[in-house]
């Protein structure tokens, strides 16, 4: 009898401490499943969640880098065309929350999409800077940028706050926010038409742009993007008369 119980004990893999673990392979499988699950959850949440970054986009020569320096450092510097993004942290005054991450992305068409794709994760708010004194060409460029931003899949799932800033109000030809808003809406209505791809497209790129903005039966209006909040503001990016109070207020709201 003793022999039987002894052999019985040795056969079952009993660990010291009394935990009955059947098989080391099972442990390994269990752990790997947990790790895979956690990684998937991590990426899923990362893409869905609102992070702390505020992204500054817009066409080239709109004044993004100048505004970035103003907000982040409170200074005035000369700027040239950016070829890579500027990133800094911004402490919202009077707020105990974690600082916001300001990202100024280059607006030049050659590099715009590359940096947008790599920086859009964890977006909380988007500041789109438009040159209000640039005429219809700059409105068209701005509308293209906005269209790409608004049809982006991550933007549609996270739904960040958007502020469209009409810059360069110190110039005589600058237009006000109402006019800019109307022109942008008209432009995006046209873009919607020309960029809508047919349904049989295969490549991943076109499926993103096939999402139609707003309501199809009417002309596009920014109100149709509800629940995504789009606001308009105007001001002066840099120089002696720099007036960015609206942006600071918006940042405080978004934080």
């Amino acid at each position: 009898m003793d022999n039987d119980s002894n052999t019985g004990k040795s056969k079952s893999s009993r660990q010291p401490g009394g935990i009955a673990i059947k098989d080391p392979v099972m442990v390994g499988v269990f752990f790997s499943i947990v790790v895979v699950f956690l990684t998937i959850m991590y990426f899923y949440i990362r893409n869905k969640k609102r992070g702390r970054s505020i992204i500054i986009v817009g066409p080239s020569e709109a004044g993004k880098t100048a505004i970035f320096i103003r907000i982040g450092f409170g200074k005035d510097v000369d700027t040239v065309t950016s070829t890579s993004p500027n990133i800094t942290e911004y402490e919202v005054p009077g707020d105990a929350k974690a600082p916001l991450i300001l990202k100024d992305l280059p607006g030049h068409e050659k590099v715009r999409m590359k940096y947008w794709d790599s920086n859009k994760i964890g977006v909380r708010g988007i500041l789109c800077v438009v040159d209000a004194a640039g005429g219809s060409k700059s409105i068209r460029d701005a509308a293209e940028v906005l269209y790409d931003v608004l049809t982006d899949s991550i933007v549609n799932s996270v739904k960040p706050d958007i502020l469209i800033f009409a810059n360069k109000q110190d110039l005589p030809t600058a237009k006000g926010t109402k006019v800019i808003r109307l022109q942008l809406e008209r432009e995006i209505t046209t873009l919607r038409l020309t960029k809508s791809a047919s349904l049989e497209s295969i490549s991943g790129n076109s499926s993103a742009s096939s999402k139609m903005l707003g309501r199809l039966d009417r002309d596009f209006e920014f109100d149709q993007l509800y629940p995504m909040k789009v606001e308009f503001a105007e001001g002066i990016g840099n120089g002696e008369e720099a007036d960015l109070k609206v942006i600071f207020d918006w940042l405080q709201k978004v934080a």
């Binding site: 065309t81 500027n86 068209r140 020309t194 960029k195 809508s196 791809a197 295969i202 490549s203 742009s209």
Partner: protein
């Protein structure tokens, strides 16, 4: 005397700028950035803008750019040394501060340092200039590079050699036209090249530097007097061209081909009333209706699983291993990648320049812990190729056509290119796309030379009208033709005014194919473009072309610039890449063409039916290239 010196970060913040009118300085710097850095032409560190020459130096460790500018005619020799010195000084003094990117906003205060280094460099320049020219050492001379055997002269052998080469030449002339044997051609070309190299007297290859100067492609606004029918050609290309022309059978009309034969050759009089040709004779394929509505589908290039960096390692990328890249480190990987690109049909000069540009951008860069040199080089090259293929301005034809309609004028697109690339076929495809999107099109048959060109376009327009029946009494596609032998520019301008009167939205102008060396034809093309001022000048090139693409585009652009007497001549605005279905993944022609002109590839033709029209998908093309 330096006119300007600027230090700025790659994020666009100016760290220091010497005294001077800021507007002019920043305009020149912006032009430099747009033309050089963003166009991936950072290989040679010189750039000319207006009256200034700008020399620049990239610091990839701290992501700074140093730019020094001086009057173009001065040709200062010490600027290189000055840039190196000041780069080193600033790096040494501000190393800790520069590592913190936030410092960029604060800027540097280096007036004294600048003055000091500049003076040292100037003094050095004067010293060098005053030095007597030292004799070359034996190693540097040409003699040491020749082999001993080539220098031994034996009178008998020399004449024998010349005879052999001459025979080969004659042979080649005869054989090419009849056999077109590829191997033989290559051999003969090489033999002829060898002879030409020796006759030049330079032992370092017959390709002259002046033939391929990229900066000159930018329209300068300086009047270039066209020489009497002269293009500077390297002897190599001249002989190859001569061979080619001799190889092609000359066009021989049995009747002699003089103008009085025009009557018998002109087919336009017969069956002119197209309405009587019953639609029963045309059986269009109705299934293609509706397939081209909206934006053109992007290209599909077969690609395997994309290599993506795993997300886990991305988290560790921030850790810096401290290894700094130098030119020697990256050269072997770059060489391999360059050969790979050339094997994918990228023109060799373009591949070389691209690799040089990537090397300049990587010099001094600090590697992350989990990054290898080859992977860094590969991703840098991929980034460069992607940036190259992305257009610097979006050409949205539909959008611009609607804009032109709003302004009450027709949107004019002109197609130009060499013979046989597919201009008329792709014109028909683009016409189909436009009428699918509810625009009315007028096709202007300005190819008044090639037999059957007008008939071809008439057949296309009939087919397209059968597919899209007339709306409200007006046909979707109309053809404007004036037969053969007329002046193309005149036909085009008449077509445009006809379109304007009849409120037609888009005018597609088809021109005759012409070789880039044919001066009278290039003049005629430049005249057509100058007189009619089309909204879009599209160069049609086939994807099969290799190094020829470089030559074609350079000469076309040059001809358009030279033969138009405007300060801002119209150059090629975009390209159509045709016959894309004939190449599997050797998609390099797209890169060569985009690099030469810097203009976007607007359409890609992938077959001979109306629906075979695609838009360029840069990601897919780069993936196919780097595979």
């Amino acid at each position: 005397m330096l006119d300007l010196f600027v230090i700025f970060s790659q994020g666009g913040i100016v760290l220091w700028c010497c005294q001077g009118s800021k507007d002019i300085i920043l305009t020149s710097v912006n032009a430099l950035i747009r033309s050089v850095i963003l166009q991936e032409r950072t290989g040679d560190n010189c750039y000319e803008h207006g009256q200034l020459t700008l020399q620049y130096k990239l610091d990839n460790e701290f992501e700074l750019v140093f730019v020094a500018g001086y009057q173009k005619m001065l040709k200062l020799s010490y600027v290189d040394k000055f840039l190196d010195d000041i780069h080193r000084e600033i790096r040494d003094r501000f190393r800790t501060k520069l590592a913190d990117k936030r410092f960029h906003a604060i800027g540097l205060a280096i007036e004294d340092l600048y003055a000091e280094v500049l003076q040292k460099a100037e003094v050095w320049g004067i010293q060098i200039a005053n030095q007597p020219k030292s004799m070359r050492t034996f190693e540097e001379s040409r003699k040491s590079k020749k082999t001993v055997a080539s220098m031994i002269e034996r009178p008998g052998d020399k004449t024998q050699d010349k005879k052999n080469v001459k025979n080969k030449k004659q042979e080649s002339n005869k054989t090419i036209s009849y056999h077109g044997d590829v191997n033989e051609n290559e051999e003969n070309e090489e033999a002829m090249d060898a002879e030409i190299f020796d006759s030049n007297g330079t032992g370092d290859g017959g390709y002259q530097e002046g033939d391929f100067e990229l900066p000159k492609l930018v329209p300068k606004g300086i009047q270039r007097k066209p020489g009497p029918g002269k293009f500077t050609k390297s002897p190599k290309s001249k002989t190859m061209k001569a061979e080619k022309d001799k190889g092609k059978k000359p066009r021989l009309w049995e009747l002699g081909g003089s103008p009085k034969d025009l009557a018998s050759l002109d087919r336009t009089i017969k069956d002119s009333d197209s309405s009587t040709i019953s639609l029963q004779e045309i059986n269009p394929d109705q299934s293609i209706l509706g397939k081209m509505k909206g934006m053109i589908k992007p290209l599909e290039v077969v690609e395997d699983d994309k290599k993506k960096e795993s997300g886990v390692l991305n988290l560790f990328k921030g850790l810096v291993s401290g290894k700094t890249l130098t030119i020697d480190d990256v050269t072997p990987s770059l060489e391999k990648l360059k050969d790979h690109l050339i094997s994918k049909n990228v023109a060799s000069e373009v591949a070389v320049k691209l690799c040089e540009s990537v090397a300049t951008k990587l010099n001094g860069k600090v590697l992350g812990t989990f990054q290898t040199v080859s992977s860094t080089v590969r991703s840098a090259l991929e980034g460069a190729l992607l940036a190259l293929l992305r257009p610097k301005r979006q050409v949205d034809v539909l959008r611009e056509a609607l804009e032109a309609r709003r302004q009450g004028r027709p949107f004019v697109i002109t197609f130009c290119g060499v013979n046989g690339v597919g201009k008329s076929t792709n014109l028909a495809k683009i016409c189909f796309w436009l009428i699918e999107n509810d625009l009315r099109v007028l096709v202007a048959a300005c190819d008044t030379f090639r037999a059957g060109a007008v008939e071809q376009l008439r057949t296309h327009s009939r087919h397209l009208n059968a597919l899209h029946p007339p709306k409200g009494g007006k046909a979707c596609v109309e053809l404007y033709e004036k037969g053969y032998g007329k002046d193309a520019a005149g036909v085009a301008s008449e077509a445009i005014s006809y379109a304007k009167d009849n409120r037609i939205d888009v005018v597609l102008v088809d021109t005759a194919g012409r070789m880039q060396d044919n001066e009278p034809l290039m003049r005629a093309l430049a005249k057509l473009i100058r007189v009619n001022e089309p909204d879009l000048v599209l160069f049609v090139g086939e994807a099969l072309v290799g190094n020829e693409a470089v030559d074609q585009l350079v000469k076309f652009n040059r001809a358009l610039a030279d033969f138009s007497d405007q300060t801002h001549p119209r150059l090629i605005d975009g390209m159509v890449l045709t016959k894309f279905d004939t190449i599997d993944d050797k998609v390099g022609a797209a890169v060569s063409m985009a690099y030469i002109t810097g203009q976007p590839i607007v359409f890609v033709g992938t077959g001979q039916t109306y629906t075979d029209l695609r838009a360029l998908d840069s990601n897919a093309v780069v993936a196919a290239l780097m595979k």
